[in-house]
């Protein structure tokens, strides 16, 4: 019999802590160096670029659509600029004697938000306001229309700001029918670019075109002067750039359930952090496999009958009924001839005669079945196959 040699005894995998550390370092150094270079690049970019937001009309945005220039000038002239994004913050920050600037809103304010904003006691400066806010802030004294007219207009009104500013190249679209509304820079159609309403304890300034604050257009014509005049009236300026996802209203929330911090008990944050760590441990536990998978060469999985099936499909795809019928007929004739003891070289007439003798069927019928014309359609082919089966079942050894 076979001589069995004692299999070897394996202790350890011939590595030490040092060699494992070295091999791990060798494996990891390239990915690590790539990650390190990426992080260095990110740090360098973060340090080399001054902080600047990408929000249009933001006072810290130095891009073309930002408004940092105006904010800086206001700041250097002693105006305290407070930058807010939400209605809640704006309402809280803007008290009596302040100025509240609301830049164009990319979405729409909810009715509660409109009420909150128009209800502040600060002076309002509205840039291209939407209709609801405009009518609420001016007590429906000013209407606005969309307009695309460009042109340079003279102030054409007796306000202090008009004299200081001079001609403007802003779009117009404000119209008024109420008393006490000053409309300036009026175009030929009678619509203005600037409207100011003095209310009980505050003023509301509406500027139809917000571009006068933008860094790229602030120096055109009298834009800068109008901006500084309008915004620099008070010591404190609350600069609100509406956030499209902001839903706060600044009022006492009637339904406290919508506030996440109210629903959850105190300590939810730390608990969530703890659960995250538990999940990390669970992932580590389940993620480590007990040894690598054992590989195996896969066998060839091609069925022997696939060539036959493929041939049948080819017949069908090309509607080769003649070929198919000839195959069926020849195979049936071959089997019947074998059963009747005919030689393989027998001709058609001999086979037909022998089959006729064995089955007592008419000669024409047998000849038609075995050597007839190709079937006209698929139904005829199926019919032929069934008839051949019947015929074959009737043929017995003589």
């Amino acid at each position: 019999m076979t001589t069995t040699t004692e299999p070897p005894m394996i202790i350890g995998d011939a590595t030490t802590a040092g060699s494992r550390a070295r091999s791990r370092w060798r494996r990891a150094r390239w990915p690590l160096s790539v990650v390190g270079i990426l992080m260095l690049a990110v740090v360098f970019l973060a340090v080399s670029r001054p902080p600047s937001s990408g929000v249009p009309y933001a006072p810290d945005n130095a891009d073309e659509d930002g408004a940092r220039a105006v904010a800086r000038v206001l700041g250097s002239r002693g105006v305290d600029v407070t930058y807010v994004r939400s209605v809640e913050d704006a309402v809280r920050a803007a008290g009596p004697g302040d100025t509240l600037l609301i830049t164009p809103n990319p979405s729409v304010f909810a009715p509660e938000q409109v009420d909150a904003l128009s209800g502040t006691e600060a002076d309002l400066v509205l840039l291209a306001p939407e209709y609801d806010l405009l009518s609420a802030a001016t007590d429906a004294g000013v209407d606005s229309y969309p307009s695309w007219e460009d042109g340079v207009y003279e102030p054409a009104c007796d306000a202090e700001v008009a004299e200081a500013t001079g001609p403007l190249a802003l779009q117009t679209g404000l119209e008024t029918s109420a008393e006490g509304v000053v409309l300036c820079w009026v175009s030929a159609d009678g619509v203005g670019a600037y409207a100011r309403v003095e209310q009980n304890r505050r003023s509301v300034t509406v500027i139809h075109d917000g571009t006068l604050l933008r860094n790229d257009t602030v120096l055109e014509e009298g834009n800068a002067a109008l901006a500084l005049w309008s915004l620099g009236e008070n010591e404190r300026l609350v600069w609100m750039v509406p956030d499209p996802f902001d839903l706060s209203t600044g009022q006492e929330d009637p339904e406290p359930a919508t506030q996440l911090s109210v629903v959850l008990p105190p300590g939810s944050g730390p608990a969530a952090g703890l659960l995250l760590l538990v999940a990390a441990f669970l992932a580590l536990w389940r993620g480590r496999r007990l040894g690598p998978l054992v590989t195996e060469d896969l066998p060839v999985l091609v069925r022997s009958a696939e060539t036959t099936r493929g041939r049948g499909r080819l017949y069908r795809a090309s509607r080769a009924r003649g070929h198919a019928a000839a195959g069926l007929r020849a195979a049936a004739a071959d089997r019947m001839a074998k059963r009747l003891g005919l030689a393989r070289s027998s001709d058609a007439a001999t086979v037909v005669d022998a089959v006729v003798a064995a089955t007592n069927r008419p000669t024409e019928q047998v000849a038609y079945l075995l050597y007839g014309p190709p079937p006209a359609d698929d139904a005829a082919l199926t019919e032929l196959a069934r008839h051949l089966d019947t015929l074959e079942s009737e043929v017995h050894r003589p």
Binding site: L290, R313, L328
Partner: protein
Amino acid sequence: MVVTWRAAALMAVGMVPVVVVPSLGTVLLWFLVVLAACGADVALAASPRRVAVQRRVPASVRLRSPARSELVVTNVSGRRLRAVVRDAWPPSAGAQPAPAGAGRGATGPAPGGVGRYRVDLPDGESARLTTTLVPTRRGDRVAGGVTIRTSGPLGLAGRQVTLPVPGRLRVLPEFASRKHLPSRLARLREMDGRAAVQIRGEGTEFDSLREYVVGDDVRSIDWRATARRRDVVVRTWRPERDRRVLIVLDTGRTSAARVGGTGEGAGGIGAPRLDASIEAALLLSALAGRAGDRVELLAFDRAVRSRVAGAAGPRLMPAMAEALATVDPVLLETDWPGIVGQVRARMSQRALVVLLTALDPAVVEAGLLPVVDQLARDHQVVVASVADEEVAALRVGRDTVAEVYDAAAAARGDLERTAVTTMLRRYGAEVVEALPDDLAPRLADTYLALKAAGRL
């Protein structure tokens, strides 16, 4: 370095201090506590690299028969070893779920898969872990590594290593066709001692003389011997012996196609044609070896894949099984002139040459037909081929138009195969075509018929 579910549970226990003092500092502190506990556990765990592992595997086993893979794990770490040990085998080695409580020191099979064992060993002791393998595929099955995952006294964390412990199990052909062997051997014995006239043939050899019994053919009475004795004596004959049989196994691309497996509970993917050919080769060689013929084997596609020559008696069948165990189909066209050259080089006198191949008309026309006359001139050639029951089922399909077209394709294939068979017979070769399970007995019957007719 691994952590267990207990580490996650310990982390979750931190919910209590977090509820008492709800702050992120508490979470961080608890995290550090858990990390320290895990680190201490890892430091106290036995090193998996200080465990001696030995794998004992039988050299060979028949397909679908059980074999035992034994791992002897000895703790030489100097500490108590609490570990999970995995004996990894490829899927077709067929590792079976272990019965509970196998081996000393092992507290039973570990969850997560077969071949995993929980081990708890004091220093210096060993455990024997036995995995039962029921291989489902022929050939060499090479074991994977042995993975040892130790854990510390707290069971929070531990260390893991996969050791390259060698192990190889040679899976021999199943030889399911050996159930046909007794009946064929009985037929062989029947042929022994039969009167000459019944099987008159040029190749039968004189065997012995025996007394006449009623029923013997009077023409086989040896009158000269009868004259020397007082009884009537008849001559007996036996089939020719010491003929040479060469079984050629075509391992080319046509042998890779799978047949069978369409029946209920057959697994669905069948087996390669080659496996049916191997069964037939084994039955034929067992039969021919008992009949006293010298059997040789050649597995060939474009090169010799395996060969058996010069083995006889009890050494024949182990040599055949060993040689056929690792033969796999090669996706190449078979080099038939090369086979003819091999046969000529090895068979100087007349022999029975059995070609186990596939009767694929196009392939036979291009490969075997041009060379079969060279073989048939010098030897008795038998071409044995595995038929496909799926094609047989296609042949009778009439229910839909698609089935009729498939039936037509099958009928056309039959006609071509019949033509090829006729051509081969014209050259003097015997052709045996049968379904996978029938091929081995049919080939054995053909061999017996040739032997009885003295055509070897």
